[in-house]
């Protein structure tokens, strides 16, 4: 089996893989980074979104071999080492942007990618950007609200709680 080397969450990572090993499987099985989830097999749900070279990517639709030499960032590296939540994570907690938590890592990673490109998105832009992230619990209300809040916008006029 060939070996793949990449940088994951700032640290060198390597492992033996098959050609068919997906990036998400490498992260979950080889590296034990189980925060990245798999919720579908047709590249739609977005529970597996990670950042590769700073861009949001579905880790279930990229082979581990394709990430050779690249920088990968997962949900496990979003909070500060001392446990302080990233502002997006904090906003999700503050605004109840998660329930079962399964889609949440992908949502946070997508939201981070959005705010990097568009620091103050409109509601419509947030909703549009989340096209590839499915959530079955929240009806999206508090996810959209949390992302707007994380961007520093006033969400007090949006329906309470």
């Amino acid at each position: 089996m060939p070996e793949v080397k990449m940088t994951v969450n700032g640290k060198p990572a390597s492992g033996q893989i098959e050609g068919r090993t997906l990036l998400v499987d490498f992260l979950r099985e080889n590296l034990g980074l189980t925060g990245t989830h798999v919720g579908c097999d047709t590249s739609q749900c977005g529970a597996c979104v990670v950042h590769v070279e700073g861009r949001a990517v579905k880790a279930c639709t990229m082979f581990a071999a394709e990430a050779e030499g690249m920088e990968v960032k997962t949900i496990e590296a979003m909070a500060e080492p001392d446990g302080t939540l990233h502002p997006i994570q904090a906003a999700f907690q503050d605004h109840h942007g998660l329930q079962c938590g399964f889609c949440t890592p992908g949502m946070v990673m997508s939201a981070a990618a959005l705010l990097k490109d568009n620091p103050t998105p409109t509601e419509a832009e947030v909703r549009d950007y989340l096209e590839g992230n499915l959530c079955r619990c929240t009806g999206y209300h508090n996810i959209v609200k949390a992302i707007l809040a994380a961007s520093g916008q006033d969400v007090s006029k949006i329906a309470a709680e």
Partner: protein, 263 residues
């Protein structure tokens, strides 16, 4: 997925060599369609030749004749951001799939796959673009040969797509509610020598030009010019998301909207 080897060449010539040797190989663009198909075990290549490290087929530039040239390995997000010279094309790219898909999926991969509901074929056919491969240059009208079928030969890689930039253009996509692919998509482009109208998502034969609308719009580029025109539902895709008649109806609606939006 069935087992396969994966190669990740960095030079186009190496990719071509790998694709033409004795091993049953398949090129892998961004993989946003191929990888789900592999997961469903719908394909069983011995080897995937991954093109994502071949930098020479990525990027956007303007040719001497004014055409916008997009490398076959350019991802949708980069086209959306970098094809400002052709706003209708940039906008089309910005609405393919979702942001994560756009960061991986490539124009070359999309065209080679020729999904009957994908967006790029409408832009390529609607612009009369030229598909440049490792072997030759193929006119858009000769490239698409029906659902999931193109004139590409085994091992041939799309290196570039050259889009003549129109005076006006617009793409209207009506999304299939589940996949968000085009239930119907219509690309209208007005050039000095006439108007092209390309329709994706609708026909069982894949992307096609609506010649009747082209003729009408070439003499009068206004939504009113196509008001009375209609297509038959025969030969249109009919599924749980819409009948052939519905798709035919949408082609008319979207064509008028595209013309109106093109201004």
């Amino acid at each position: 997925m069935y087992a396969f080897d994966i190669e990740r060449p960095t030079r186009l010539t190496d990719a071509v060599k790998l694709l033409s040797d004795a091993t049953d190989s398949q090129p892998l663009g961004g993989g946003q369609t191929l990888i789900p198909a592999l997961k469903a075990r719908l394909a069983a290549p011995e080897r995937l030749v991954c093109l994502s490290a071949v930098d020479e087929i990525k990027g956007i530039c303007t040719a001497d004749d004014g055409a916008l040239c997009i490398g076959g390995g350019t991802c949708h997000a980069d086209v959306a951001a970098g094809a400002g010279a052709y706003p209708a094309l940039a906008s089309l790219a910005a609405n393919i799939g979702d942001p994560a898909v756009r960061n991986r999926g490539t124009i070359g991969g999309s065209l080679a796959n020729n999904d009957p509901s994908s967006c790029y074929p409408a832009a390529v056919l609607g612009s009369g673009a030229t598909v440049v491969t490792t072997n030759r240059k193929i006119a858009a009208d000769d490239f698409f040969e029906g659902m999931f079928t193109t004139s590409l030969e085994e091992g041939e890689i799309i290196t570039e797509v050259r889009f003549p930039v129109p005076e006006k253009a617009n793409y209207q996509k009506f999304e299939q509610p589940a996949s968000r692919f085009a239930l119907v998509g219509v690309f209208v482009a007005k050039y000095a020598d006439g108007v092209r109208v390309a329709v994706t998502g609708a026909s069982e034969d894949g992307v096609f030009r609506w010649s009747e609308a082209e003729a009408a719009l070439s003499s009068d580029f206004s939504a009113g010019a196509v008001e009375g025109l209609s297509l038959s539902g025969d030969g249109m895709i009919s599924d749980m998301h819409g009948s052939g008649d519905y798709r035919a109806h949408l082609v008319g609606v979207l064509t008028r909207r595209a013309v109106a939006a093109a201004g």
